[in-house]
Amino acid sequence: MGLLYGLIAVGLALIFGLMDVVNFAHGEFLMIAMYATFFLFAFFALDPLLSAPLVAAALFIFGAVVYLLIVRFAVRAKANTGMVQIFSTFGLAVLMRGVAQYFFTPDYRSIPHSWLGGKTISIAGIYLPQPQLIGALIAIAAFAGLYFFIHRTDFGRALEATREDAGAVALVGIDKNKVFALGWGLGAALVGLAGAVMAIFFYVFPDVGASFATIAYVTVALGGFGSVFGAFAGGIVVGLVEAITTLILPPSLKTVGIYGVYLLVVFVRPRGLFGSI
């Protein structure tokens, strides 16, 4: 489960950490991705595993459009940039929840049967649910890919450079908006992937994103902003802590452990585990 949190958090880590923009609609991105997966299944009987790339591609476009239509202007605001970012993306979250309620109704939906749903696999005597396992593998692959992408490709370097100094970057001929739009697209695509996997074993409803989003913020901050590896480590920590808290506390308190660990970590290391900013 920790790696799944990690997977949800990677996309956020990219947007949040690397571009220093808080996307308060991150949970709603996840929700949209889950609905997309659900409807692809309901209308075309497409298994979530097959639709995952499609959903990721759709979310890529969605993320880029959101950047170009909203976030671009929020970042440019002359006063209170931080607040404008928080509240414009928060407004977007409310809007998306409303739209989802309008078109999809507040009913809980789930994908009744898929290739992996409800199946378990036994490794050395331990039974693991297959969807979670696949999710974990996808998460590892996504992290590795993103790490490589940020540190080894021109685009990744351009992204990081743009965050550090947009003015200087413009001088060497990099279009800030293009880089950031692609970055947002990529972040959203990763959430799309997470949503497709989540839809296999979790209910889909308009407010589904909210609970996961808070954990995703905590995961990213726990690992430290500006660090992809940090988000990965954060995801694992969060998963472990959750597993341990459910053993010792009633299930309704399971997130208390996660939040508590976050506070402990930042009180000792104010920049998270591996943070650079």
Binding site: T81, V99, Q101, V256
Partner: protein
Amino acid sequence: MDKAFIQRRRRDLVVAAFLTAIAAVVPMFVKDVYVQNIMVLTLMYGALSQSWNILSGYCGQISLGHALYFGLGAYTTAILFTKFGVLPWFGMLSGGVLSAIIAMALGYPCFRLGGHYFVIATIVIAEITLLLFHNWDWAGAALGIDIPVRRDSWVTFQFTRSKLPYFYFALALACVAWFVTWWLEDSKWGYWWRAVKDNPIAAESLGVDVFNSKMGAAAVSAFLVAIGGSFYAQFVSYIDPESVMGFQFSLLMALPAVLGGIGTLWGPLLGAAILIPLTELTRSYIGGSGRGVDLIVYGGLIIAISLARPQGLVSLFSRKPKPAANQVREAVAS
């Protein structure tokens, strides 16, 4: 002292007195209970947002966890009243003091955090408390506390037949929050806070006690918000963890200030006067369908306003200061 500044502050005071007087007579003409209800909520959120603005607007420490203090105020009052028979007025005061103490205790580790780390810490702390209250049987757990109805009087601060007393209390609360802000704006603390917000390192080097000024702002802010929470508990006479400590309260305190103008004297009240009636009206007129149209309108408006007026709606009222270059040119010409 700058003469224009003193004049502006005097004018603010006069305008405030004038607005209060108008607000005080409005209920004599508006008898509709539904509208009165909206007015009470508007004033309450105005007061809450004004208090939030002290820590987050003036001192620049953006908190999205103020629901914690709101809930503490509500719970202290309700628990003291139902379990120990303590009158709400004392409950209100103890809730405020308790919140201020807790705000400082939490501020001690939290104020070392910067930026997003701080914001997330505030959210997380409020969430933890919410979950703890959910599981705390003695305090009603998820079922909450029903405040027993006694007779209507100012002593028990309960009025079942009329909303007017609540209205006047909310008005008084808004006035107090406004006046505290007005008074602090020109005090030593007010200048420290703005210095801390703009550049904490420079402020520290000039001898501002950054840490303690954040603590002061947190205490004042939490105290006032808790009073608001106590009031709310009396007003709705039923509380449960979600309805007084939920994340939406943290947002509803922050939004009016952001909308109206963060870190300004009039911003929070102006923002509340627009946002709260809008929220209530969209909810009751188009939200009844349960299909989320109210959310669409609400979300769309938040995006539009925050993008179009990043400095807040209050900037519409202020005359634009001339650019410095023009002033120099005029000075040279004359």
